[in-house]
Protein backbone atom coordinates (compact mmCIF):
# COMPACT_ATOMS: atom_id res chain seq x y z
CA UNK A 1 0.00 0.00 0.00
CA UNK A 2 2.75 2.40 0.96
CA UNK A 3 4.57 1.64 -2.19
CA UNK A 4 1.47 2.53 -4.21
CA UNK A 5 1.07 5.86 -2.39
CA UNK A 6 4.71 6.65 -2.79
CA UNK A 7 4.44 5.88 -6.44
CA UNK A 8 1.52 8.26 -6.74
CA UNK A 9 3.58 10.94 -5.05
CA UNK A 10 6.34 10.40 -7.53
CA UNK A 11 3.90 10.68 -10.38
CA UNK A 12 2.73 14.00 -8.99
CA UNK A 13 6.28 15.15 -8.81
CA UNK A 14 6.91 14.11 -12.36
CA UNK A 15 3.79 15.72 -13.61
CA UNK A 16 4.33 18.79 -11.50
CA UNK A 17 4.76 22.25 -12.97
CA UNK A 18 8.48 22.56 -12.33
CA UNK A 19 10.10 21.41 -15.55
CA UNK A 20 13.30 20.30 -13.90
CA UNK A 21 11.34 18.29 -11.43
CA UNK A 22 10.28 16.00 -14.21
CA UNK A 23 13.54 14.20 -13.75
CA UNK A 24 12.17 12.81 -10.55
CA UNK A 25 9.88 10.49 -12.41
CA UNK A 26 11.55 7.29 -11.57
CA UNK A 27 9.20 5.16 -9.69
CA UNK A 28 11.84 2.92 -8.18
CA UNK A 29 13.54 5.76 -6.41
CA UNK A 30 10.42 6.60 -4.50
CA UNK A 31 9.79 3.06 -3.60
CA UNK A 32 12.54 3.67 -1.03
CA UNK A 33 10.61 6.27 0.90
CA UNK A 34 11.08 5.84 4.65
CA UNK A 35 9.25 2.70 5.69
CA UNK A 36 8.03 4.37 8.86
CA UNK A 37 5.53 6.44 6.86
CA UNK A 38 1.98 5.83 7.78
CA UNK A 39 -0.83 6.12 5.32
CA UNK A 40 -1.81 9.44 6.73
CA UNK A 41 1.78 10.68 6.38
CA UNK A 42 1.83 9.63 2.78
CA UNK A 43 -1.48 11.27 2.15
CA UNK A 44 -0.36 14.48 3.82
CA UNK A 45 2.89 14.52 1.91
CA UNK A 46 1.05 13.95 -1.31
CA UNK A 47 -1.41 16.74 -0.58
CA UNK A 48 1.41 19.13 0.25
CA UNK A 49 3.23 18.16 -2.89
CA UNK A 50 0.11 18.83 -4.96
CA UNK A 51 -0.33 22.17 -3.20
CA UNK A 52 3.27 23.10 -3.91
CA UNK A 53 2.83 22.28 -7.56
CA UNK A 54 -0.32 24.35 -7.73
CA UNK A 55 1.48 27.28 -6.06
CA UNK A 56 4.15 27.15 -8.70
CA UNK A 57 1.52 27.11 -11.41
CA UNK A 58 0.11 30.28 -9.85
CA UNK A 59 3.53 31.90 -9.52
CA UNK A 60 3.35 31.72 -5.73
CA UNK A 61 6.92 30.62 -5.22
CA UNK A 62 7.08 31.30 -1.52
CA UNK A 63 3.99 29.17 -0.92
CA UNK A 64 5.51 26.48 -3.06
CA UNK A 65 8.65 26.49 -0.95
CA UNK A 66 6.61 26.04 2.18
CA UNK A 67 4.50 23.23 0.79
CA UNK A 68 7.46 21.31 -0.65
CA UNK A 69 9.44 21.75 2.55
CA UNK A 70 6.64 20.33 4.66
CA UNK A 71 6.09 17.54 2.17
CA UNK A 72 9.78 16.66 2.38
CA UNK A 73 9.75 16.85 6.15
CA UNK A 74 6.85 14.41 6.28
CA UNK A 75 7.93 12.01 3.59
CA UNK A 76 11.67 12.46 3.11
CA UNK A 77 11.07 12.08 -0.60
CA UNK A 78 13.93 13.79 -2.53
CA UNK A 79 11.56 15.01 -5.26
CA UNK A 80 9.96 17.35 -2.76
CA UNK A 81 13.39 18.58 -1.70
CA UNK A 82 14.44 19.07 -5.29
CA UNK A 83 11.31 21.05 -6.06
CA UNK A 84 11.83 23.14 -2.93
CA UNK A 85 15.38 23.94 -4.00
CA UNK A 86 14.15 24.95 -7.44
CA UNK A 87 11.53 27.23 -5.92
CA UNK A 88 14.14 28.81 -3.65
CA UNK A 89 16.34 29.38 -6.64
CA UNK A 90 13.49 31.07 -8.46
CA UNK A 91 13.01 33.35 -5.46
CA UNK A 92 16.68 34.33 -5.49
CA UNK A 93 17.27 32.65 -2.15
CA UNK A 94 20.46 31.13 -3.43
CA UNK A 95 22.00 30.32 -0.08
CA UNK A 96 19.01 28.22 0.93
CA UNK A 97 18.77 26.72 -2.55
CA UNK A 98 22.42 25.71 -2.40
CA UNK A 99 21.93 24.16 1.01
CA UNK A 100 18.91 22.24 -0.29
CA UNK A 101 20.90 20.92 -3.25
CA UNK A 102 23.73 19.98 -0.89
CA UNK A 103 21.33 17.94 1.21
CA UNK A 104 19.79 16.44 -1.89
CA UNK A 105 23.12 15.20 -3.17
CA UNK A 106 24.76 14.33 0.13
CA UNK A 107 21.84 12.50 1.65
CA UNK A 108 20.00 11.17 -1.36
CA UNK A 109 22.75 11.04 -3.97
CA UNK A 110 23.01 7.26 -4.38
CA UNK A 111 19.27 6.97 -4.76
CA UNK A 112 18.68 9.88 -7.10
CA UNK A 113 17.73 9.37 -10.70
CA UNK A 114 20.64 10.11 -12.99
CA UNK A 115 19.15 13.20 -14.49
CA UNK A 116 18.18 14.62 -11.12
CA UNK A 117 21.64 13.91 -9.82
CA UNK A 118 23.24 15.60 -12.81
CA UNK A 119 20.98 18.63 -12.53
CA UNK A 120 21.48 18.75 -8.80
CA UNK A 121 25.26 18.88 -9.13
CA UNK A 122 25.12 21.67 -11.69
CA UNK A 123 22.60 23.66 -9.77
CA UNK A 124 24.45 23.21 -6.49
CA UNK A 125 27.55 24.71 -8.05
CA UNK A 126 25.63 27.52 -9.69
CA UNK A 127 23.81 28.40 -6.51
CA UNK A 128 27.00 28.24 -4.47
CA UNK A 129 28.56 30.72 -6.87
CA UNK A 130 25.65 33.11 -6.37
CA UNK A 131 25.81 33.13 -2.59
CA UNK A 132 27.08 36.48 -1.32
CA UNK A 133 29.45 36.58 1.62
CA UNK A 134 30.19 39.29 4.13
CA UNK A 135 33.54 38.71 5.76
CA UNK A 136 34.04 40.39 9.10
CA UNK A 137 37.69 41.20 9.68
CA UNK A 138 39.32 42.61 12.73
CA UNK A 139 37.28 40.75 15.30
CA UNK A 140 39.19 39.52 18.31
CA UNK A 141 38.96 35.77 18.85
CA UNK A 142 37.82 36.33 22.39
CA UNK A 143 35.50 37.31 23.77
CA UNK A 144 32.69 36.34 21.47
CA UNK A 145 30.79 39.14 19.84
CA UNK A 146 27.10 39.78 19.63
CA UNK A 147 26.27 39.87 15.93
CA UNK A 148 22.95 40.73 14.38
CA UNK A 149 22.56 40.43 10.63
CA UNK A 150 19.36 41.63 9.00
CA UNK A 151 17.72 41.60 12.40
CA UNK A 152 18.63 38.00 13.19
CA UNK A 153 21.28 36.86 15.63
CA UNK A 154 24.37 35.28 14.14
CA UNK A 155 26.23 32.74 16.22
CA UNK A 156 29.83 33.76 16.74
CA UNK A 157 31.60 30.42 16.77
CA UNK A 158 35.03 31.97 17.10
CA UNK A 159 36.22 31.43 13.54
CA UNK A 160 38.18 34.38 12.21
CA UNK A 161 37.57 36.09 9.97
CA UNK A 162 33.91 35.52 10.47
CA UNK A 163 32.01 34.92 7.24
CA UNK A 164 28.29 35.54 6.96
CA UNK A 165 26.62 34.06 3.91
CA UNK A 166 23.59 35.73 2.45
CA UNK A 167 21.89 36.61 -0.79
CA UNK A 168 22.23 39.63 -3.01
CA UNK A 169 20.49 42.73 -1.75
CA UNK A 170 20.74 45.34 0.91
CA UNK A 171 21.68 44.23 4.38
CA UNK A 172 22.37 45.56 7.81
CA UNK A 173 24.87 44.44 10.41
CA UNK A 174 25.36 45.21 14.07
CA UNK A 175 28.38 43.98 16.02
CA UNK A 176 28.42 44.41 19.76
CA UNK A 177 31.08 43.83 22.35
CA UNK A 178 30.92 44.68 26.00
CA UNK A 179 32.66 47.94 26.81
CA UNK A 180 32.64 49.06 23.19
CA UNK A 181 30.40 51.08 21.02
CA UNK A 182 28.35 49.00 18.59
CA UNK A 183 29.63 48.71 15.03
CA UNK A 184 26.91 49.40 12.50
CA UNK A 185 26.96 48.68 8.79
CA UNK A 186 24.38 49.02 6.05
CA UNK A 187 25.15 48.13 2.48
CA UNK A 188 24.37 46.11 -0.62
CA UNK A 189 25.83 42.87 -1.86
CA UNK A 190 25.59 41.53 -5.40
CA UNK A 191 25.19 37.95 -6.60
CA UNK A 192 28.20 35.96 -5.48
CA UNK A 193 29.94 39.02 -4.10
CA UNK A 194 32.40 38.54 -1.28
CA UNK A 195 32.83 41.71 0.69
CA UNK A 196 35.48 42.11 3.39
CA UNK A 197 34.41 44.44 6.14
CA UNK A 198 36.87 45.81 8.67
CA UNK A 199 35.04 45.89 11.97
CA UNK A 200 36.37 48.48 14.37
CA UNK A 201 34.97 48.57 17.85
CA UNK A 202 35.81 51.76 19.65
CA UNK A 203 36.04 51.48 23.41
CA UNK A 204 33.05 52.97 25.04
CA UNK A 205 33.92 56.16 26.80
CA UNK A 206 32.04 56.41 30.01
CA UNK A 207 29.81 59.43 29.65
CA UNK A 208 30.99 62.26 31.81
CA UNK A 209 28.64 62.73 34.63
CA UNK A 210 27.44 66.25 34.68
CA UNK A 211 28.22 68.19 37.76
CA UNK A 212 24.53 68.20 38.56
CA UNK A 213 24.64 64.42 38.87
CA UNK A 214 27.48 64.40 41.37
CA UNK A 215 26.33 63.86 44.95
CA UNK A 216 29.27 65.89 46.18
CA UNK A 217 27.98 68.90 44.28
CA UNK A 218 24.61 68.71 45.98
CA UNK A 219 26.17 68.10 49.37
CA UNK A 220 28.46 71.10 49.00
CA UNK A 221 25.64 73.18 47.56
CA UNK A 222 23.37 72.15 50.40
CA UNK A 223 25.98 73.00 53.00
CA UNK A 224 26.70 76.35 51.37
CA UNK A 225 23.01 77.17 51.11
CA UNK A 226 22.35 76.16 54.69
CA UNK A 227 25.37 78.07 55.90
CA UNK A 228 24.29 81.06 53.84
CA UNK A 229 20.78 80.79 55.20
CA UNK A 230 22.12 80.52 58.73
CA UNK A 231 24.37 83.55 58.27
CA UNK A 232 21.56 85.45 56.61
CA UNK A 233 19.16 84.64 59.41
CA UNK A 234 21.78 85.54 61.97
CA UNK A 235 22.45 88.88 60.28
CA UNK A 236 18.74 89.55 59.93
CA UNK A 237 18.21 88.69 63.55
CA UNK A 238 21.06 91.02 64.48
CA UNK A 239 19.45 93.77 62.47
CA UNK A 240 16.30 93.36 64.51
CA UNK A 241 18.12 94.08 67.76
CA UNK A 242 18.42 97.57 69.21
CA UNK A 243 21.78 99.26 68.86
CA UNK A 244 23.18 101.47 71.59
CA UNK A 245 23.53 105.14 70.70
CA UNK A 246 26.69 105.58 72.69
CA UNK A 247 29.51 103.73 71.09
CA UNK A 248 32.22 104.81 73.47
CA UNK A 249 30.48 103.90 76.70
CA UNK A 250 28.38 100.83 76.56
CA UNK A 251 27.38 98.58 79.40
CA UNK A 252 25.78 95.20 78.94
CA UNK A 253 23.83 93.91 81.88
CA UNK A 254 24.13 90.19 82.29
CA UNK A 255 21.39 88.52 84.23
Amino acid sequence: MLRCVAAALVCLAVLGPVPSARAQAEEDRYADAPPRLSESDVEEARSLFVAGSAAIEAGRWADAVDSFRRSYEVSGVPAALYNMAMALRALGRHREARDAFVILIDEHGPDLPVEMMRNGLVLRREEAERVATLVLEGLAAEPRHGITFDGSDVQDGGERPLAIETDAGTHSLVVRLDGHRAFLWDGALGDGERLALAVTLAPEVAPRRGVLRRPAFWIVTGVVLLAGAAVGLWLWDRSQQLDPQSDDHRVVMRP
Binding site: L226, Q245, H249
Partner: protein, 179 residues
Protein backbone atom coordinates in the same frame (compact mmCIF):
# COMPACT_ATOMS: atom_id res chain seq x y z
CA UNK B 1 26.13 64.52 57.81
CA UNK B 2 22.37 64.93 57.70
CA UNK B 3 22.26 65.36 61.43
CA UNK B 4 24.93 68.01 61.23
CA UNK B 5 22.96 69.90 58.62
CA UNK B 6 19.78 69.66 60.64
CA UNK B 7 21.64 70.81 63.73
CA UNK B 8 23.07 73.71 61.78
CA UNK B 9 19.63 74.76 60.66
CA UNK B 10 18.21 74.40 64.14
CA UNK B 11 21.06 76.40 65.64
CA UNK B 12 20.58 79.02 63.00
CA UNK B 13 16.84 79.25 63.36
CA UNK B 14 16.38 78.73 67.06
CA UNK B 15 17.46 82.17 68.21
CA UNK B 16 15.95 83.87 65.24
CA UNK B 17 12.57 84.87 66.44
CA UNK B 18 12.86 87.78 64.08
CA UNK B 19 12.12 90.23 66.88
CA UNK B 20 14.36 92.28 69.08
CA UNK B 21 15.28 90.43 72.23
CA UNK B 22 17.17 93.26 73.86
CA UNK B 23 16.34 96.54 75.47
CA UNK B 24 18.46 99.65 75.54
CA UNK B 25 18.50 102.32 78.23
CA UNK B 26 20.22 105.46 77.13
CA UNK B 27 21.62 107.20 80.18
CA UNK B 28 22.28 110.91 79.84
CA UNK B 29 23.67 112.55 82.95
CA UNK B 30 24.48 116.21 83.04
CA UNK B 31 27.60 116.41 85.15
CA UNK B 32 28.41 119.35 87.38
CA UNK B 33 31.45 121.58 86.96
CA UNK B 34 34.43 121.24 89.26
CA UNK B 35 37.14 123.83 89.75
CA UNK B 36 39.45 121.08 90.86
CA UNK B 37 40.57 118.25 88.62
CA UNK B 38 37.88 115.67 89.07
CA UNK B 39 36.52 112.73 87.25
CA UNK B 40 33.06 111.23 87.38
CA UNK B 41 33.32 107.47 87.26
CA UNK B 42 30.11 105.59 86.47
CA UNK B 43 29.59 102.15 87.92
CA UNK B 44 26.43 100.40 86.83
CA UNK B 45 25.31 97.11 88.32
CA UNK B 46 22.06 95.52 89.17
CA UNK B 47 20.89 94.64 92.59
CA UNK B 48 24.28 95.01 94.20
CA UNK B 49 24.72 96.49 97.67
CA UNK B 50 25.92 100.09 97.42
CA UNK B 51 28.01 99.68 100.55
CA UNK B 52 30.25 97.21 98.83
CA UNK B 53 33.12 98.16 96.63
CA UNK B 54 32.14 97.31 93.09
CA UNK B 55 35.63 96.97 91.76
CA UNK B 56 37.36 98.75 88.94
CA UNK B 57 35.92 99.92 85.70
CA UNK B 58 37.43 99.27 82.32
CA UNK B 59 36.65 102.78 81.22
CA UNK B 60 38.06 105.91 82.91
CA UNK B 61 35.80 108.53 84.40
CA UNK B 62 34.47 111.60 82.69
CA UNK B 63 36.60 114.65 83.26
CA UNK B 64 34.53 117.39 84.92
CA UNK B 65 34.77 120.79 83.37
CA UNK B 66 36.07 123.68 85.46
CA UNK B 67 33.00 125.65 84.57
CA UNK B 68 29.77 124.73 82.86
CA UNK B 69 28.45 121.23 82.45
CA UNK B 70 29.16 118.28 80.29
CA UNK B 71 27.04 115.38 79.37
CA UNK B 72 27.89 111.77 80.05
CA UNK B 73 26.19 109.37 77.69
CA UNK B 74 26.07 105.69 78.49
CA UNK B 75 24.14 102.97 76.71
CA UNK B 76 23.03 100.12 78.90
CA UNK B 77 21.77 96.97 77.26
CA UNK B 78 19.83 94.15 78.85
CA UNK B 79 17.46 91.37 77.91
CA UNK B 80 15.88 91.27 81.36
CA UNK B 81 12.94 93.58 81.84
CA UNK B 82 12.79 92.93 85.55
CA UNK B 83 16.17 94.42 86.41
CA UNK B 84 16.61 97.44 88.63
CA UNK B 85 19.81 99.32 87.88
CA UNK B 86 22.13 100.42 90.66
CA UNK B 87 24.29 103.30 89.60
CA UNK B 88 27.21 104.82 91.42
CA UNK B 89 28.72 108.06 90.25
CA UNK B 90 32.03 108.51 92.04
CA UNK B 91 33.89 111.80 91.95
CA UNK B 92 37.54 111.02 92.00
CA UNK B 93 40.86 112.77 91.74
CA UNK B 94 42.14 109.96 89.57
CA UNK B 95 40.46 109.05 86.28
CA UNK B 96 40.22 105.44 87.43
CA UNK B 97 39.48 106.35 91.03
CA UNK B 98 42.80 104.83 92.03
CA UNK B 99 43.99 107.64 94.26
CA UNK B 100 44.02 107.09 98.05
CA UNK B 101 41.54 109.89 98.47
CA UNK B 102 39.18 108.14 96.04
CA UNK B 103 38.73 105.14 98.31
CA UNK B 104 35.06 104.88 99.14
CA UNK B 105 35.85 103.92 102.71
CA UNK B 106 37.54 107.27 103.21
CA UNK B 107 34.37 109.19 102.40
CA UNK B 108 35.07 109.96 98.76
CA UNK B 109 32.09 111.80 97.31
CA UNK B 110 29.56 109.81 95.31
CA UNK B 111 25.97 109.82 94.06
CA UNK B 112 23.91 106.66 94.29
CA UNK B 113 20.88 105.92 92.12
CA UNK B 114 18.45 103.10 91.85
CA UNK B 115 16.72 103.11 88.48
CA UNK B 116 13.56 101.09 88.68
CA UNK B 117 12.86 98.66 85.83
CA UNK B 118 14.20 100.76 83.00
CA UNK B 119 14.29 97.96 80.40
CA UNK B 120 11.55 97.04 77.96
CA UNK B 121 12.50 94.48 75.37
CA UNK B 122 12.37 95.89 71.89
CA UNK B 123 12.27 99.46 73.11
CA UNK B 124 14.80 102.18 73.62
CA UNK B 125 14.26 104.14 76.84
CA UNK B 126 16.01 107.14 78.33
CA UNK B 127 17.02 108.20 81.80
CA UNK B 128 18.01 111.82 81.89
CA UNK B 129 19.51 113.11 85.09
CA UNK B 130 21.10 116.34 86.16
CA UNK B 131 23.59 116.52 89.01
CA UNK B 132 23.77 120.06 90.21
CA UNK B 133 27.03 119.87 92.12
CA UNK B 134 29.69 117.51 93.26
CA UNK B 135 28.60 116.31 96.66
CA UNK B 136 30.88 116.97 99.62
CA UNK B 137 33.12 114.33 101.10
CA UNK B 138 31.40 112.11 103.59
CA UNK B 139 32.11 111.65 107.19
CA UNK B 140 33.47 108.25 108.23
CA UNK B 141 30.56 105.81 108.30
CA UNK B 142 28.31 108.12 106.40
CA UNK B 143 26.60 106.89 103.23
CA UNK B 144 25.25 108.89 100.34
CA UNK B 145 21.50 109.10 99.99
CA UNK B 146 20.12 106.69 97.41
CA UNK B 147 18.10 108.49 94.80
CA UNK B 148 15.39 106.29 93.45
CA UNK B 149 14.39 106.94 89.88
CA UNK B 150 10.79 105.94 89.57
CA UNK B 151 9.98 103.76 86.58
CA UNK B 152 7.51 106.34 85.39
CA UNK B 153 10.41 108.76 84.90
CA UNK B 154 11.98 106.44 82.36
CA UNK B 155 11.26 108.03 79.02
CA UNK B 156 10.17 106.07 76.00
CA UNK B 157 7.39 104.75 73.84
CA UNK B 158 5.62 108.08 73.52
CA UNK B 159 6.22 111.43 71.96
CA UNK B 160 6.28 114.85 73.54
CA UNK B 161 7.47 115.61 77.04
CA UNK B 162 4.83 114.21 79.36
CA UNK B 163 5.25 114.55 83.08
CA UNK B 164 5.02 110.80 83.44
CA UNK B 165 5.68 107.88 81.19
CA UNK B 166 3.15 105.66 82.86
CA UNK B 167 -0.47 105.25 81.96
CA UNK B 168 -3.24 105.94 84.38
CA UNK B 169 -3.33 102.30 85.36
CA UNK B 170 0.28 102.54 86.44
CA UNK B 171 1.77 100.55 83.60
CA UNK B 172 4.65 102.00 81.68
CA UNK B 173 3.95 103.10 78.16
CA UNK B 174 6.52 100.64 76.94
CA UNK B 175 4.55 97.81 78.47
CA UNK B 176 1.69 96.26 76.51
CA UNK B 177 -1.55 97.99 77.26
CA UNK B 178 -3.67 96.07 79.72
CA UNK B 179 -6.95 97.09 78.14
Amino acid sequence: MTRALVALVVVALAPSAGCARNAILEVEVELPPSPEERYALFQIRHELDFALSWGGEPRPGHRLEASGTNLARISVESEDESLDLHVKVRYCEDAGCGAPADDESTGAPASWFVVEQPFYVGHRTFWRERIEAVPPRLEPGERPDVVVIDRCRIEGCTGGTPSTFCRLDGTHRCEPSGG
